[in-house]
């Protein structure tokens, strides 16, 4: 009983202080408040259950974010319909072609409904929606949580180069989508034409975004 109380106190002191950060991450990963609430609660309960396995003195926030990310990938993504999985796969395929056509959000078919639904926050969530999951996860962990490439690589269990590459592409797509929505905002007010889909230039494969590769190449050249 005493041990349980101590565990709870420790957990509150070390883990629950990150609730806001975890919620922010979940909010951007799930893209809606209700799923974010569930995801944060599930993740914290899981963390509490496995609190014994948390290595004291290591980075608690990174440990918790790993749980949030894994829970999101394992539980929440599995629930998605196969159609969406297919869409994501298509999106990833498109990006490897070097250029991704960012389609305007299909939901905004009627201007009336669009007017009701619109807010800047919705735009951000919708822009995130258009990203492949891996891209979105990398961007959220870096730009919402401020984690380093190495920490993100540990969480996503991929090399740092892959993290950089996803981060680079994810940010590019996101920035383009956000600019599109800003244009669309103007359209709603002024009654102008729907904005055209924006072509986003992405670097091709032989121009990989990888700091480690850059360092290795540089070291090789230096020793020549």
């Amino acid at each position: 009983m005493q041990a349980l109380r101590e565990k709870r106190t420790e957990f509150e002191r070390q883990a629950l202080v990150h609730t806001d950060a975890l919620y922010g991450c979940a909010y951007r990963l799930t893209r809606n408040a209700r799923d974010a609430e569930d995801l944060v609660q599930d993740s914290l309960l899981r963390a509490y259950r496995f609190w014994d396995s948390f290595e004291q003195d290591s980075n608690c926030k990174a440990w918790l974010l790993r749980i949030v990310t894994n829970t999101f990938i394992n539980e929440y993504q599995r629930k998605k319909r196969s159609r969406e999985v297919l869409d994501a796969a298509t999106a990833e395929q498109d990006t490897t072609d070097g250029v991704l056509m960012h389609a305007d959000a299909n939901e905004r078919q009627s201007p009336e409904r669009a007017l009701l639904d619109r807010s800047v926050s919705d735009d951000v969530q919708r822009a995130l929606e258009a990203l492949p999951d891996d891209f979105r996860t990398a961007v959220v962990l870096c730009d919402v949580q401020g984690l380093s490439y190495k920490e993100i690589a540990d969480i996503m269990q991929t090399p740092v180069g892959t993290v950089m590459s996803r981060l680079f592409r994810g940010r590019k797509l996101l920035a383009a989508a956000l600019r599109d929505f800003a244009l669309a905002e103007g359209y709603v007010r002024e009654g102008a034409q729907q904005p055209k889909a924006t072509a986003v230039e992405l670097p091709d494969d032989n121009k990989a975004i990888d700091l480690e590769k850059y360092r290795a190449t540089k070291a090789r050249e230096g020793s020549r």
Binding site: D20, E37, Q41, V124, D143, L178, L211, Y214
Partner: protein, 276 residues
């Protein structure tokens, strides 16, 4: 390799503060010379700022924090319940009067302190009780009629009642028996703890002398000495009251300490305390 070729990588790592100081200095020097890369880094900086500003997320609503606290409370309660199912522990949970409670706690602390590494040899009475607990003999009386039956057929006493609030302990029934040549009554209880159910045997032994409770670990409780036995791995607790009535308890599902706690919580002890 010119820096221009790797400007995508370098600009990103630069803006994310991932460059080592030397790489950083090298890039900064290069940016002074190269207008193209300077424009590139500025554009990247603008993109990054746009993305980061857009992604600022709201804090968790208070409702969510309250929900999480409640969920943790539920998890704690489940943990306590699971713990109890693994090992029933009733320390500090019985409803004895204050002073008796203190004495009981002292007795249990004493038991824990003196518990020998090797279980001491148990006495004949304890062995007999354990034997009766392990064999399920047919009961002669069951349920509510057990008390009157006991007074009529055995001795003018009430069956012991246990006071462990989180356990449901029901008297199933009784049968007459004999222990070491003394008339005895075997009472069988059904203990329910969460999803677990198991039986507890109490044997009441008439006209027993204190010295017949040989063996076990003596534990002083109030003015009485309880004996805690380990008979072939099963714990038993025995004692003799002022009317030379012997009581012996056994249950294979309890540890010696838990059984001791249960016995100390019984109304027999309370009765003895009030009688003085």
């Amino acid at each position: 390799m010119s820096l221009c070729q790797s400007i995508d990588t370098l600009a990103m790592a630069f803006l994310d503060d991932e460059l080592v100081p030397e790489e950083r200095r090298e890039l900064e020097l290069h940016l002074l010379d190269c207008a193209g890369c300077r424009v590139h880094v500025d554009a990247e900086r603008a993109d990054l700022s746009l993305v980061r500003k857009a992604l600022v997320a709201p804090p968790a609503p208070d409702m969510v924090k309250a929900r999480i606290a409640r969920a943790l409370d539920v998890a704690d309660r489940e943990e306590v319940r699971a713990e109890r199912q693994r090992s029933i522990s009733i320390v500090g949970r019985w409803f004895l009067p204050g002073a008796a409670m203190l004495a009981a706690a002292a007795a249990i602390v004493a038991f824990v302190a003196v518990r020998p590494a090797e279980p001491s040899r148990s006495g004949a009475v304890a062995k007999e009780v354990v034997r009766q607990q392990t064999r399920t003999m047919p009961l002669e009386v069951q349920g509510a009629g057990t008390g009157p039956w006991l007074r009529e057929n055995f001795a003018p006493i009430e069956p012991p009642k246990f006071r462990a609030p989180q356990l449901d302990i029901q008297l199933l029934g009784a049968r007459l028996t004999a222990v070491s040549g003394h008339n005895a009554a075997q009472l069988r209880y059904l203990v329910t703890s969460g999803k677990n159910q198991f039986t507890l045997t109490a044997v009441l032994i008439d006209d027993l002398r204190n010295d017949e409770l040989s063996g076990g670990t003596p534990i002083k409780f109030a003015d009485r000495t309880l004996h805690v036995h380990d008979a072939n791995g099963m714990p038993a607790v025995t004692y003799v009251d002022e009317h030379h009535m012997g009581y012996a308890f056994a249950s294979e599902r309890l540890t010696a300490q838990e059984l001791l706690e249960l016995v100390v919580s019984s109304d027999l002890i309370g009765r003895a305390q009030q009688g003085r």
